[in-house]
Symmetry: C2
Subunit: 348 residues, 2 copies
DNA sequence: TGACAGAATTGGAACGTTCCAATTATTAAC
DNA sequence: GTTAATAATTGGAACGTTCCAATTCTGTCA
């Protein structure tokens, strides 16, 4: 229709007021008369006015736009999709909208995406950093006073808030539970040794094992890709031992599913002949057969919590970095053998 | 550090040139001398300059920002996560960044999110519309000349491009395949009856069934939520029939996984005792046990194609709406019982 | 009626960028 | 050594909004 876009001045002209008054209406100022407000609003609807956030942002150098950015390293992993949904629920009720971008674990892409979000004046950022992210990458953000909350992975040395789950406590609880069920040979399966998350989960396992009669033994740690395929491969290695394990604490749920596949291929039924515990509690965990015993980190909950931390920072003005470790709990289902009809029975 | 943000004028001053020159450097204009360019770039890095896209956008009323928006109706469904990844790959190589928002099937939220994206001056929009979206909702977008590509679901009457998959042909092919394998009682399982996608998939099933000896029968259509849980529930209903089905064409892969779970819970092994066919070919489909026979709509491919359509429109200036129906093909894996070692064997 | 307070409205400057037309510097051609 | 052509640079206006200070309008009170 019209050639140019419709501006606050067009509205003013059509409503017979000044642009300043229109601006006041836009910000719901109590200064403007109810009758005027109604008229202006009517004209805006009629002409199909679209607020130009860019222009507004330009003027009010302090107040940022009402968007918060979320940057994840692997959107195809449903863990992150759910995390984003959790963030969204909180953020939207605070009147923000969330823009999400995916880095696919690519550092360059991450830089680009974060830069782009800054250019658009995001109010804050929730980031699940790509592998290899350094404190240096976060520096410009804190220098600019942009609130940031790191989730899932923390970046050592970065002066920003972070929210990670208690990996140590999780694997530790898994080992204790399996010990109570009578297992002695408990393996730690899957994951790449060069990540912080792996270290934390392994250390929980190690500490708990050291407290058992069996003690900790290096040979029961079998690393692999943190994927379903990795799990299949790792358990193959484990079952080839002279004295194979009777239970496995897995790096994550994907690995755990792979372990189940691998066991079945050897005619060993997970949950009956062998105990498997995962980590993450992804959505499929409770519906697969056997239902997976796992450590719940509740992706949506993490998202909500991260969003709250971020909003707090945004409202506080002065971003105060805080490090939060989110508690974790063991969800006992079938794959560990504890949930069946004769709970006293010893496995293997 | 500095009080205000660092602007193009600060750079100009520090580099001893005019702001116009800095602007030219910013847009990589060939007009500026290499030496000058280098100096300016150096100063920008040094002072930590951040491009203010808002201000730029303000001036160049025509050229929009380099972001494209993608709006999906259910991010927890990995179909959409993968679609987004597909869009991203194309869009990012064209120098855009993608911002994603989730509507959770909520019309109000969808309006909000689209408005917000408009305010930020997106160059184009890829939308998987929430249930109940009307042509009216798209009207302001086309009026404003913003390129839009609808995916997955189309909106009748909306004058925008759309890219949907050939749902009718998909379920039809599934039924034919199952018939060839010897099945007669084939159920259609899952999905809500009030959506266009459901209608299309059901009509393909209906037509193909009508061509079999068995014929189409209403009782074999069991609707449910289009989720894993919905699949579990629906197959429970199905197996309780006097003459239960021996095969199921499912509304989507999520439902199909649920059906497999439900069958196993009844000691019926999917792929051996019962044939299951999904729809979507999500990434897990090929790695689950049994691997899922499904209709491939290749979420990433759809995303890429949609992105290409959108970019074409953006570059063309005048958005020319086109309706594309994307072909679909049956991927035969294990869950239908056809891929095992004795292919001649009749099931159930 | 005049003065005054408070409510409501308003014009202009400013935000950080790009575009345009104009200017200056450099090189080429005779 | 002048002219023309080209390369490089530049100041000012403009984009759509908000903020500030100033103005006008309304009603109240002496």
């Amino acid at each position: 229709m019209g050639k140019g876009r419709v501006t606050v001045i067009d509205i003013a002209k059509a409503a017979g007021v000044s642009k300043s008054t229109v601006s006041l209406v836009l910000q719901a100022s109590p200064l403007v008369n109810e009758i005027t407000r109604g008229k202006v609003n009517a004209v805006m609807r009629e002409l199909g006015y679209v607020y130009n956030r860019g222009a507004a942002n330009l003027r009010q150098a302090n107040a940022r736009s009402k968007i918060i950015g979320i940057v994840v390293n692997d959107l195809t992993n449903s863990f992150f999709a759910e995390l984003a949904v959790g963030v969204d629920t909180v953020v939207q009720s605070a009147g923000f909208v969330q823009f999400l971008s995916n880095t696919s674990e690519n550092l360059d892409r991450q830089r680009e995406v974060i830069a782009s979000m800054r250019e658009h004046g995001v109010s804050g950022l929730i980031v699940s950093p790509a592998r290899g992210t350094e404190a240096l990458d976060m520096k410009p953000l804190v220098a600019a006073g942009i609130p940031v909350v790191l989730v899932v992975r923390s970046v050592p040395g970065a002066k920003v808030s972070s929210l990670v789950s208690d990996n140590h406590a999780g694997t530790s609880a898994a080992v204790e539970h399996l010990t109570l069920l009578g297992h002695r040979r408990i393996a730690f399966v899957g994951g790449f040794p060069d990540t912080a998350v792996f270290d934390e989960r392994l250390s929980g396992y190690r500490e708990a094992m050291a407290n058992t009669n069996e003690g900790f033994s290096e040979e029961l740690v079998i690393s692999s890709a943190p994927s379903r395929a990795g799990g299949v491969e790792a358990i193959g290695q484990g079952m080839a031992m002279a004295e194979p394990p009777t239970a496995a604490v897995c790096f994550n749920d994907a690995v755990a599913f792979g372990v189940c596949d691998g066991l079945r291929a050897r005619r060993i039924e997970p949950g009956r002949d062998f105990a498997v515990v995962g980590f993450d509690n992804v959505i499929e965990a409770k519906t697969t057969v056997p239902a997976l015993t796992t450590i719940s980190v509740d992706p949506q909950g993490i998202g909500q919590r991260a969003a709250q931390m971020l909003l707090k920072q945004i409202n506080a003005g002065k971003p105060e970095a805080e490090q939060v470790v989110s508690a974790v709990r063991l969800i006992v289902r079938e794959s560990c053998g504890a949930a069946d009809n004769n709970p006293g029975r010893r496995l293997a």
